[in-house]
């Protein structure tokens, strides 16, 4: 396959960056996330980013419209997302799968989210196959191939000293072509490196079906006990897509309506006007999160909403591991 030496990564990135915005996983101020490429940025492809690339399509805070209100008169002015094209470089299988989950949510079922759609259409995703399983990774358990994902526009393979590259879509081919034109590609027959056995493994087969009869299961009475109801798991999750709509006043007369990440772990999330909360305690919140990932989402969109990226496991303050929940569901006795 076509390949470029790892030593030439900077040149590859420079070439791609010259065509438009290029997002690369990098370490800035000790935070590993996707940043627009700059020559002085510390690109890091050693492991997956700590913060998922979902924020590129679905930013944590996004302006929807400006409003003005003078007395009884008011006006609304739409703020549309930026339509410039971009390339996402180094997206892992788990995050690629997560993007497909987000596609389901934002691009299907009646309405299209203009903000997500615009960014998504403009983006070319260059996936990167993993040759090493991270400490908290379990994508293979969720039915993914860590080495490649067919949803990507182009796929990078770890060939040892080289990265192999294959275009999968028209957009992806353009990336490959650009690199070829720049004279960076050569042919390589080296073996694709694959990760050794995952430390974290779980059998997710049939969990969605089993959970259908488990809403009232006693399992949920125990799972929440150590949860502190923070939003870490949901904010780090590449598939969590809940948002809230609120506003930010610029001054007394005008402001901006914003869409911002929200988390089912928060108290106020399900609270209705008037004070009724259908999910009043930690138990219901924890159940909602796992049920959503493992049952409701599969019911609605036909796939798990967990892609095994392991971010929630890595950062959960109390080690409430989704793999452990899946195991417990598997072992649970269900009456009837």
């Amino acid at each position: 396959m076509k390949a470029f030496p790892k030593a030439k990564l900077q040149e590859v990135l420079k070439t791609l960056a010259s065509k438009g915005t290029l997002y690369v996983p990098a370490l800035v101020d000790e935070t590993h996330r996707y940043y627009p490429y700059r020559a002085d940025i510390q690109v890091s492809l050693e492991q997956n980013s700590a913060i998922s690339p979902k924020e590129i399509f679905f930013p944590s805070t996004e302006k929807i419209y400006n409003f003005t209100a003078y007395g009884i008169d008011g006006d609304y002015e739409e703020i549309l997302p930026d339509r410039t094209a971009c390339v996402l470089f180094g997206v892992r299988s788990c995050d690629m799968q997560a993007i497909l989950c987000m596609d389901d949510v934002f691009l299907t079922r009646g309405y299209i989210d203009e903000y997500y759609a615009t960014r998504r259409e403009g983006a070319t995703i260059v996936a990167l196959g993993c040759s090493k399983a991270g400490a908290d990774c379990f994508c293979s358990s969720m039915g993914l191939n860590p080495v490649e994902h067919e949803g990507a526009d182009a796929q990078l393979y770890d060939l040892g000293d080289y990265y192999g590259i294959q275009g999968r879509t028209e957009k992806g081919e353009k990336v490959v072509e650009a690199l070829a034109v720049a004279g960076l590609l050569s042919e390589s027959s080296a073996e694709v490196l694959v990760p050794e056995e995952f430390v974290l493994q779980v059998d997710s087969e049939g969990i969605a079906e089993k959970l259908q009869a488990m809403f009232e299961h006693s399992l949920w009475d125990q799972l929440w006990r150590k949860c502190i109801n923070c939003g870490t798991c949901t904010y780090l999750c590449p598939t969590c897509h809940c948002f809230d709509i609120s506003e930010k006043k610029k001054n007394q007369h005008c402001g901006v309506k914003i869409k911002c990440w929200d988390s089912c772990m928060f108290n106020e999330y399900a609270m209705m006007a008037g004070g009724h909360n259908p999910r009043p305690s930690k138990k219901e919140k924890v159940r909602q999160r796992f049920m959503h990932k493992l049952r409701y989402f599969p019911e609605r969109y036909g796939k798990y909403q967990c892609t095994g990226c392991g971010r929630c496991i890595a950062k959960c303050p109390v080690n409430l591991e989704i793999t452990d929940v899946i195991n417990q569901v598997r072992e649970a006795k269900v009456n009837g």
Partner: protein
């Protein structure tokens, strides 16, 4: 959205000269919620208030903001105006663009800008105003007077005469205070005891006055109308019910002690009545000196007492009484002259103070009214008075004028000349202040008829040569040094606050100045009131005064106290703390910081996940709360809010300021 009106006042030219009032009113029209805005020359005047009321009705206002003078001045005016217009009085805000803008800024543009900012904040707050109402609290129809000198006695008699119960409390065993120590009074030279004693007796016998002597206030809880005062009655070791005041015990007591009443110039016994006219005229045992109480030996008084009134087992008694109002009349201490080392005060027995001299001149004093030198009992011939000792002296931390000294020195010089025509008085002075009815005439007589020699100048040093005191100073009028060989030097020691004045102020919750004099609520218009409602001041505790002034203030305090007591109930503050029980975590921090003990715990039940749960929350007693805000700043959950100054309202103001 609330419909807010804005009224900008020119205050004649007071505001209009430095603020474009019309511009302020115009800009305000654009503030969110403002539906009407105008400016006018005098908003507080009748036409101005009418203008506001008309606008409220015409524009259907929910509240309004007046940009004018200080709310201290006219907030009540505009609140009443709101009431007349049919609004809750707490739906209005007053913003002070006079003291805070026009009076402190010279630049009209900047003054206008600041006025607009302040107004914007007030409008933002007004939009969050909610109607408030006050509740009523009953008044305990009883007053407490702390200190039973002439001021306290007069206050108590006046309150009692007006038909209210009053407790007259003093920490000494007799009432009378400083005036009882004084021999004669200026400018009439009345015998002090002759005019004071009848008052003391009247107080003691008045059916409405309860006298509590030899007692101290240790704690004050509660609030105006209902103060709970903890009083510690010191053990007297004499059962006053049994004692007839025969005096046998005093006579036989073997222990002699230097008498405080006589300023150390004479002795008393360990069981004693401080002075012959004392009220109550029954002896108490001084536990610090009584041989029996110290080491169990003696017991003579008990043996000799014909009515078995002596009781060594008596203990201090602590009582808590409720009073509607309190008058503080705790008087003064005399400045400690030993701080003037250059005068040898404390070292030379013949350098004394005015109060010593009063005792030396008094017929019932240690010398039976004969003026004798403390050192050798010789009758002095040349007497030097030095004024402004411990007053008008920055270096000694006493920059204020003690006010009574000029006159009492004149009195002393006059009386000495009368008693000892061969004597000569020299009076060193800085100024002579005789502001008072017939005072100047008295001073003139001292100079002209009684040969008092006034020397303008400071004494730099006094030293002893033989049995003479050499007084060295300068006559600043002729610019020459003077030296006088005196037999006796009398220092006109100033008045200073009682040593424990600050402690008492803290107990009472009243304020005091840097010296320790209690602070009146307003130096001109509220000289009787303190900042704490229901507590009033009489006499020297507020600042140096002579007797007539003290008595005048005492009567004034009595009127204030009676006025309060004559109301059946008081209207409590509307702007008081309120607890948001939904948010209150029941931590109780508010309870521990509330100075009025107005917050208590209460249990509430609520449904949590289908189960009824009990939890503890704080609850504010609206009668006790004074709206001080200590609880709101200490509440970690912002559950405590002062109505009318809620966290939300204050944040709205901050927001408005930031959003210019």
């Amino acid at each position: 959205m609330k419909r807010i009106g804005v009224f900008v006042c020119h205050c004649g030219t007071n505001i209009a000269n430095t603020v474009h009032c019309d511009q302020v009113a115009e800009v305000a029209k654009d503030f969110p919620g403002v539906v009407y805005s105008c400016d006018y020359k005098y908003m507080c005047a009748e036409p101005g208030q009418q203008l506001i009321q008309d606008a409220v009705r015409e524009h259907n206002l929910d509240g309004y903001v007046v940009a004018a003078c200080s709310p201290r001045m006219h907030e009540p005016t505009f609140r009443k105006c709101a009431e007349r217009a049919g609004l809750n009085p707490y739906m209005i805000e007053q913003v002070n663009i006079r003291e805070q803008c026009s009076w402190v800024h010279a630049d009209k543009e900047k003054g206008t800008e600041k006025s607009i900012d302040l107004l914007r904040m007030a409008v933002a707050k007004a939009r969050k105003n909610e109607p408030l109402s006050s509740s009523t609290i009953p008044v305990t129809k009883r007053a407490l007077v702390i200190g039973a000198g002439i001021a306290g006695i007069q206050t108590a008699i006046d309150i009692a005469d007006n038909g209210f119960q009053v407790t007259l409390l003093d920490r000494e065993h007799s009432i009378g205070g400083r005036m009882a120590q004084v021999d004669k009074t200026f400018p009439t030279l009345d015998c002090s005891a002759c005019i004071l004693t009848p008052k003391m007796v009247e107080a003691a016998q008045h059916p409405n006055i309860e006298m509590v002597t030899y007692a101290e206030v240790t704690a004050v809880d509660g609030f105006v109308g209902n103060f709970d005062v903890t009083i510690r009655k010191k053990a007297r070791y004499v059962d006053f019910d049994k004692c007839t005041g025969c005096g046998a015990c005093q006579e036989k007591c073997p222990k002699k002690v230097s008498s405080e009443f006589e300023m150390g110039l004479g002795p008393r016994k360990a069981i004693y009545v401080p002075f012959p006219q004392a009220v109550p005229n029954k002896p108490v045992i001084d536990a610090e000196h009584c041989r029996y109480l110290l080491d169990g030996k003696c017991g003579v008084c008990k043996k000799i007492c014909p009515t078995e009134a002596v009781d060594y087992e008596q203990k201090d008694e602590v009582i808590v009484e409720r009073y509607g109002s309190i008058v503080v009349a705790t008087g003064f201490d005399q400045f400690d002259i030993s701080k003037y080392e250059e005068y040898g005060a404390g070292r030379y027995p013949d350098v004394i103070t005015g109060l010593h001299l009063e005792r030396l001149m008094n017929a019932s004093g240690p010398t039976a009214g004969k003026i004798k030198r403390p050192s050798d009992g010789k009758v002095p011939e040349k007497i030097v008075f030095i004024k402004c000792v411990g007053s008008r002296d920055e270096a000694k931390g006493r920059p204020y004028c003690s006010k009574a000294c000029c006159m009492y020195v004149a009195k002393h010089a006059t009386l000495i000349k009368e008693k000892m025509p061969q004597s000569k008085s020299y009076i060193f002075y800085m100024d002579v202040r005789t502001g008072g009815k017939s005072y100047e005439e008295f001073y003139k007589r001292t100079q002209e008829q009684y040969d008092g020699q006034y020397i303008r100048g400071r004494v730099s040093k006094i030293f002893q040569v033989g049995d003479k005191l050499i007084v060295r100073g300068e006559d600043s009028l002729i610019g020459r040094p003077v030296e006088i060989e005196a037999d006796l030097v009398v220092l006109a020691a100033g008045m200073e606050p009682r040593a424990d004045a600050v402690a008492l102020a803290r107990t009472l919750g009243i304020s005091y100045d840097q010296h320790g004099w209690y602070t009146e609520a307003h130096p001109k218009l509220q000289p009787i009131e303190t900042h704490t409602a229901g507590i009033y001041l009489a006499g020297v505790c507020q600042g140096p005064k002579d007797i007539p002034e003290s008595v005048a203030q005492a009567s004034a305090a009595a009127v204030k106290a009676t006025g309060l007591l004559s109301k059946g109930e008081l209207t409590s503050e509307a702007m008081i703390a309120e607890c948001n029980e939904a948010v209150c975590a029941g931590c109780g921090l508010c309870i521990s910081v509330c100075p009025y003990k107005a917050i208590e715990k209460k249990k509430v039940s609520e449904r949590v996940h289908g189960q009824m749960k009990e939890r503890v929350v704080a609850v504010v007693n609206p009668g006790l709360c004074q709206g001080c805000g200590a609880c709101t700043v200490n509440c970690p959950s912002s559950a405590m809010n002062i109505n009318g100054f809620t966290n939300e309202q204050i944040l709205a103001e901050v927001d408005a300021l930031c959003q210019r």
